[in-house]
């Protein structure tokens, strides 16, 4: 079927380019891109909820941090191996997402945004409150020897890049499959017109919860992987800023597109990287980008492309 050939080809091409970049990039950009891929997975998870289901959450740092601490705390305090701690971190994030989702989904629109913001804030403050164990803002470092999966040390730059790429590829393919599946179509239907989706007999509440749990698990996976790949666990990742950043990345790249989160994350990371060389006030760029996007390109970069030239983009 030609309908599927174009998108599948495009995404395979993107993954191939990312793999090729592994061999050609200079060290510095190699490291940055590994980080971008991990954070882009976070953005993909956010996009599942915001882009496809139309649920704007201001509290996704909670799920990223749940994965991060779900992996980091048992490794640090209980001496768990990464093979056990990684799935635990993801499961913890998914569980938290189920709880938060079940409560937050009783609200809509602006109230939903504030409820998610408040839950994330409570989570962040809880991390600070128990700083005896979490080390609060200062955070802690996961020992290099512990950071290995099945005998491969992820502290090594090459292994780290490949691991980040695998993580991103799995998340991207999962998103692609999900949004092209009947369930994914229902999510988009909810975004476009919730009432109509309900009238057609879909259990809207259940699909929304599904979106939150899938999104939470994906963000948790990104968080857990971040801890494992970069070896640092800190409360900053639970702060409001890390709830706003995925929103910014997705808005910039294009909400409701599979590749948008990657483009947005890469673009913004490099912009901030560039900006922080010039001034301490690099978040100014993020702020300006948010305002300009809302004013002039609410669909984001890929969203505009899809609107003008490529309607087939998933």
């Amino acid at each position: 079927m030609t309908g599927a050939a174009k998108p599948v080809g495009l995404h395979a091409l993107v993954l191939a380019i990312l793999l090729a970049l592994h061999f050609v990039l200079p060290d510095y950009h190699h490291g940055v891109l590994a980080r971008v891929l991990t954070l882009a997975t976070f953005a993909l998870g956010y996009n599942l909820m915001f882009g496809y289901t139309g649920l704007l959450s201001l509290g996704h740092a909670l799920f990223f941090a749940a994965g991060l601490y779900g992996l980091g705390m048992p490794m640090q305090h209980l001496g768990w191996s990464a093979e056990v701690a990684l799935p635990f971190g993801i499961a913890f994030a998914a569980l938290l997402a189920t709880g938060v989702g079940a409560l937050a989904l009783r609200t809509q629109g602006v109230a939903f945004m504030i409820v998610t913001l408040m839950f994330a804030q409570a989570g962040f403050l809880t991390l600070l409150y128990f700083n005896e164990f979490t080390r609060g803002d200062e955070g802690f470092v996961i020992a290099q020897e512990a950071r290995s999966l099945f005998g491969i040390s992820l502290a090594d730059a090459d292994a780290r890049y490949i691991a980040a790429l695998i993580l991103f590829a799995v998340a991207m393919i999962a998103t692609l499959i999900l949004v092209r599946s009947p369930a994914g179509r229902v999510l988009v239907a909810i975004r476009e017109n919730e009432e109509r989706a309900r009238m057609l007999g879909y259990d809207v509440a259940r699909y929304k919860l599904l979106a939150i749990v899938a999104s939470g698990a994906m963000c948790g996976a990104a968080g857990a992987a971040y801890g494992l790949l970069f070896g640092y666990v800190g409360a900053t990742f639970a702060s409001v800023q890390y709830s706003i950043l995925p929103l910014l990345w997705v808005l910039l790249g294009g909400a409701g597109t599979v590749l948008g989160p990657l483009i947005g994350t890469a673009f913004m990371t490099y912009l901030i990287d560039l900006g922080s060389g010039l001034t301490d006030a690099y978040m100014l760029l993020a702020g300006a980008a948010l305002v300009l996007l809302t004013l002039f390109a609410p669909a984001g970069l890929l969203g505009e492309v899809r609107k003008r030239w490529a309607g087939w983009l998933p």
């Binding site: 937050a104 609200t107 602006v110 109230a111 409150y129 929103l247 006030a281 300006a288 948010l290 305002v291």
Partner: protein, 312 residues
């Protein structure tokens, strides 16, 4: 015997917080009530008020040789006016253009938050700077009950600052009364309430809704700035100081109910006092955790308190 003084101290701290919080929260509540948008940058208007107060009083003290009280009085007028003007411009340049769409407005004001905060960091720097209280040393209140017990000797520092803190409470109450008078007695208040009640009908009756929105947004920001000017001699001006007032204002507005001045003040008292008391006896972080969870649960289980008004 140790408990009593601590409780009084805690409630006094709580009362000061409650006083400034009710002003800040009222600003947020007005904006939400009339314009139906959540202004996430509200805390930054608070911060700008404090920074502007520092500029005015430092400039007045150094360049013009004004005494501290004159510089403070000037700040109390100029800082809210400047912040209000800025908010007015932001409304025209950003909020009006996204058509006050609730979700896009939130995203845009998050952007505005970072712009204001980071520009302050660039222009004003990362230091926390104090503003001299106008009459901290002049009115040192005697405290008879305590003096008789001998507590005054154990805490001689306790009430040197209190004279200014009492002034904060009185000034905030006076400002609240003034806002109440404007809302319920003046023509502008009538127009604002009409716009809040039914935007389209108001427009049909010739009320310039766009202008009303801009002025409401400016008034909301000015209230936050005024609260900040009052608190800055106690707290110092810092570019990150907007976070807490924003969070607490959210809490107050949501618990107190929308657009109701009385509800806002009552909730500010409740939150301010309990925050003060819990902070002194336990930890400020614990107080905030409880408060944020409370807000989330109020919104989940009693949404009509704030956001249900739209469907009614």
């Amino acid at each position: 015997m140790d408990f009593g003084p601590y409780l009084v101290f805690a409630s006094l701290e709580g009362a000061v917080l409650a006083a400034t919080l009710s002003l800040t929260a009222l600003g947020l509540s007005l904006v939400f009530g009339v314009m139906r948008v959540v202004n996430v940058a509200h805390g930054e208007f608070f911060m700008l008020g404090a920074v502007a107060a520092w500029f005015v009083s430092a400039l007045g003290g150094e360049a013009l040789g004004l005494p501290a009280w004159a510089g403070f009085a000037a700040a109390l007028v100029l800082a809210p006016a400047a912040v209000g003007a800025l908010a007015w411009a932001a409304d025209r340049a950003i909020l009006a253009r996204v058509g006050y769409d609730p979700e896009r407005t939130i995203v845009a004001t998050i952007g505005l938050l970072y712009i204001l905060q980071q520009l302050t960091l660039m222009g004003y720097g990362p230091e926390a700077r104090p503003v001299e209280p106008p009459f901290n040393a002049r009115i040192a209140l005697p405290w008879p009950e305590w003096g008789a017990d001998g507590f005054a000797w154990t805490w001689p520092w306790g009430f040197g600052t209190t004279s200014y803190k009492l002034f904060v409470i009185v000034a905030a109450a006076a400002l609240l009364m003034a806002v109440w008078a404007v809302l319920s007695r003046s023509r502008f208040g009538l127009i604002m309430r009409a716009t809040q009640y039914d935007r389209e009908t108001a427009q049909a009756f010739g009320i310039p809704v766009g202008k009303v929105y801009a002025w409401t947004f400016a008034l909301g920001a000015a209230l936050a700035a005024a609260a900040a000017v009052l608190i800055v001699p106690i707290q110092q001006a810092h570019y990150l100081m907007g976070g807490d007032p924003l969070l607490l204002s959210f809490i107050v507005v949501i618990i107190g109910g929308l657009g109701s001045l009385r509800g806002t003040v009552l909730a500010a008292l409740l939150i301010g006092m309990s925050d003060g008391v819990i902070s002194v006896f336990f930890s400020p972080t614990l107080a905030k955790i409880l408060a944020t969870l409370l807000v989330a649960l109020v919104l989940v289980f009693r949404p009509q308190g704030l956001f249900g008004a739209k469907t009614a």
